[in-house]
Symmetry: C2
Subunit: 408 residues, 2 copies
């Protein structure tokens, strides 16, 4: 039986002692302070560190406003600190009083973006998603391009517009595809605003420029995981993306869940990844199981209306795994820094109800979704709130939530 916490309600919440995700909270617009979530509370870390209750940490490592200094310390420190925190929060802890003084109800604070993101990379690692997009965008061609099964296709996204769950998303405007080939583009708010259900990892210590990270070393470089909603304007994207890839169709916003679940907390939920055919090149091979058994769902609620779960899937179905993504991203010698974000790409499963984007769920707008309460959706409408959720057994990844504001 799992150990119990003295924090009321924590054990059954998905944020018990098995989880202890890291984030940062701010009270009434005050400074952001690194914290660990336990149940419906945030445990503010800096006073505990100052009191010597978190072990041997460099001064200021948890002073905020972001976790980057802590992320830079590496796996042994992460693990030792997390063990200390678990000790403080365990039933019978001799330090319960000190810990209780650092506990704040989540209702009294705002969870803010806990990292300064150096680079944001987005992959394309679900074979069902890549195949569906190929069928929708290039109906007369082979759905998967020739490189897809040989490497985890990816590109750089925009770091400045990565926002935390709860931040509203303004419908972007831009150039829209010409009505007929060879014609002039239109201009206006996107008419095909979409979501992408993704899982992302946040890095700790990086590598020097000119070196690479081996798949076997992933635990030294990956701190933990968040849910990612890679908002997409499909019409803007379709017009702009040749030949250099997505730009404004993606860069207006990317939402992340606020609590970074440590890789250590997800270790019991590692499972065998699907078979890869052909077998990848040496630098992409792994000896361990690196798929993550995380149940995921997508829900949409119209303004003032109730929520409809429109998709359910599982991250274990991803074709390319996190160690493969990180090894690939650095095989050319580029350098990772603490606080980089690497997202999986849309996670879609084989069934129609397991697809992680509206593009796929409605098959390019052909088959509108029915919402509870009577509405339908091809793509998102102003006022819609989208919520992505994830859970791995007793370990919750929480949610990432965003509401669509009308274009300016």
């Amino acid at each position: 039986m799992a150990e119990q916490s003295w924090v009321a309600g924590a054990d059954e919440s998905g944020f018990g002692l098995e989880n202890l995700p890291f984030g940062a909270v701010s009270r009434a617009g005050g400074p952001a302070r690194p914290a660990v979530r336990i149940g419906a509370h945030a445990l503010i870390l800096e006073p505990l560190a100052e009191a010597g209750l978190l072990g041997d940490l460099p001064p200021g490592a948890l002073a905020g406003p972001v976790l980057n200094p802590f992320l830079a310390l590496g796996r042994e420190t992460w693990s030792a600190t997390r063990a200390r925190i678990a000790g403080l929060l365990r039933s019978g802890s001799p330090d319960q009083e000190a810990a209780a003084a650092a506990l704040v109800p989540l209702t009294e604070v705002e969870a803010v973006l806990p990292i300064a993101i150096g680079d944001y990379v987005d992959f394309y690692s679900s074979i069902e998603h890549a195949s569906n997009v190929g069928k929708i965008f290039r109906p007369d061609a082979e759905p998967l391009l020739p490189n897809w099964r040989h490497l985890p296709v990816g590109y750089h996204g925009r770091a400045s517009s990565v926002i935390v769950s709860g931040t509203d998303v303004r419908r972007p405007q831009g150039q829209l595809p010409p009505p007929e080939p060879g014609g002039a583009p239109g201009f206006g708010p996107t008419e095909r605003l979409d979501i992408e259900l993704e899982l992302g990892f946040v890095t700790g210590p990086g590598n020097a420029l000119g070196t690479s990270i081996a798949t076997a070393d992933v635990r030294e470089h990956v701190f933990g995981f968040v849910l990612v909603n890679d908002w997409s304007a499909r019409d803007i994207q379709r017009w702009e993306y040749v030949p250099l890839g997505p730009f404004l169709g993606k860069s207006f916003a990317t939402s992340v869940s606020p609590w970074i679940v440590p890789l250590e907390a997800l270790e019991p939920h590692r499972v065998a990844a699907r078979e890869q055919d052909p077998e990848p090149l040496d630098y992409l091979r792994t000896d361990e199981d690196w798929a993550l058994d995380i149940e995921l769902e997508v829900a949409i609620a119209p303004e003032g209306g109730e929520e409809t779960v429109v998709a359910r899937t599982n991250a274990r179905g991803l074709y390319w795994t996190a160690p493969q993504q990180l090894a690939h991203a650095t095989v050319n010698g580029t350098n990772v820094r603490p606080g980089d974000l690497y997202a999986s790409g849309t996670i879609s499963g084989p069934d129609p109800g397991s697809r992680g984007s509206l593009l796929e769920l409605t098959w390019g707008g052909r088959d509108p979704l029915e919402l509870h309460g009577g509405g339908t959706r091809k793509f998102l409408q102003d006022g819609d709130t989208v919520v992505l959720r994830g859970v791995a057994g007793a370990v919750s990844l929480g949610e990432v939530r965003g509401r669509i504001l009308p274009s300016v």
Copy 2:
């Protein structure tokens, strides 16, 4: 006649009072300190700011290690500070003694990367370059894709591997295109290591997420310009780039010149841009002339050998201008931050000797270049040093230099 400086040799150096570019220097691995280049010297700014000689600046704005806090202050402060610096360095300045005490020969310091780059965007704004690449990569199709004349095509590059001139570049390795269609990829060091001659701008104050920057406001947001070498591994790029754009073929290194030439110094070198056909959408129109009359050259020197200038061109030939690039990049509401870098894309002219990449200069490797001393080049060899230089009348952009190290 231009005003003269009391700093010996400054007036005719390209780094006289007309220029005054900003950067940062470090002595023997010590802390990086913001500085302005005058002739062959760096003027260290913080002691002058502390002595009240640079006007009304917030404390620490020039304390280093990067210029970002100064960049955030905006155009009026930039201009006033630059005027104060010009006053200190002008012949007959009453403060010559104080300024001389802050002057360090460039031979005694290292010019370091002076900005923390939030996001790095790379455009594709030369019509000759885009047409050449189209002809080389897609010989049977229309060279320019349908979107090219309607918007400045661009994508996000990697910020972590932006390096300052003088930093060696390790030849990247990675997956290479299959020898025949449908085959398995190769793996190894790139065999097609290339350069791209580009001009980049560095931003000051940004915009709030959800808003856009108008072309008319470019002076409020652009601090200045640097030379950019967007190193490229053409074989890695060709295999990976569909459908999400370049990734590892570019992310291993991007070199920039160390001294950011203020837009204010380039104002006298603004000229009419080439005609755009069709006329762009409203948000891309400008009332003023925004092409920059900057002469550019590319030189290659083999290990221990003399330099050959392999290309000469001019930035004024770019089809899309900086205000258009910035307006386009933000039309969807994404946010710019102080210290972002936006590069032009390869600058090529109409003549064979005016092309800004080896891919074009050798037409995909078909026509090797002759170097002085007898060697030839299809692409770069280990030990080669590449130097890009730029000059606008009396205002030098200096150079960006990099040497190729063998793959690990």
